[in-house]
Symmetry: C2
Subunit: 149 residues, 2 copies
């Protein structure tokens, strides 16, 4: 009986400390970090709140934004001034290791054509350190009826 209990305890700890199990837990934490960061930065347009999720660098690959945290700060200021009512809805979130992918529907102004965006964020030690994205205006007419999301 005691041996069975010990065996079960050993098996349980092996399951919970399996490298793949720990990896998925980190991915889930990374997803939480990126989704909160995105909400603060892009929808609430609050750089101070967003900056808490950022690491010591912020390597920017969006060609419209300057490198570093300052580039994000300027971009958020641009949104506050030019598109204060803009809103981005996250349609899909994926995670692989240090990377988190967001598939987003972005509306800059009511009535204007909206965009499909896919963002990739890289994290180090649980903080966001790098960002890539691709943006495409959603056309009025499409060759299929499935929508872009």
């Amino acid at each position: 009986m005691i041996r069975s209990v010990i065996l079960l305890m050993v098996l349980g700890s092996v399951l919970l400390t399996h490298p793949a199990h720990g990896a998925r837990k980190r991915e889930e934490q990374n997803i939480k970090t990126v989704v909160e960061f995105y909400e603060k930065a892009i929808n609430q347009k609050d750089f101070e709140a967003a900056s808490k999720y950022m690491g010591p660098r912020y390597t920017q690959h969006n060609p419209m934004a300057a490198n570093g945290p300052g580039g994000l700060k300027d971009f958020i200021q641009f949104l506050r001034t030019k598109y204060p009512g803009s809103h981005s809805e996250i349609k899909r979130v994926l995670a692989d290791g240090d990377y988190v992918v967001l598939h987003v529907h972005a509306v800059r102004e009511p009535g204007a054509r909206s965009s499909a965006i896919i963002d990739i964020f890289k994290l180090e030690n649980g903080k966001i350190v790098e960002h890539w994205d691709v943006t495409q205006e959603i056309p009025e007419k499409a060759a299929n009826a499935n929508g872009m999301f």
Copy 2:
């Protein structure tokens, strides 16, 4: 001694059959499937070879392509006719469960402006059944020196 051997065998089988371990193995197989499919379809422009990786449906979200396998066939024919020398280089591959993400540099014609594309593929039973993408022309000048990849 025999008990220790049995314990080790049990631990080993628990590690190898851990759900997270199996999940990562499937993700690696999905990556292989999507990368091979992409190479056959977009670079070799060989619909017959590409279609072996597709499931019973192919739900298309790219607004320029018709739904289903026939839409992909027509798109490949369009590439063969209009851009026979087009080439797409996969810069980054990510996987999460049934989804595979490709970050791609696409060149349609030598000398023309190239594009950054992020594709998302969904797989069911190891076959590709759904596709989303977002495409952006790479601008001549950027606000940072990091490139789009």
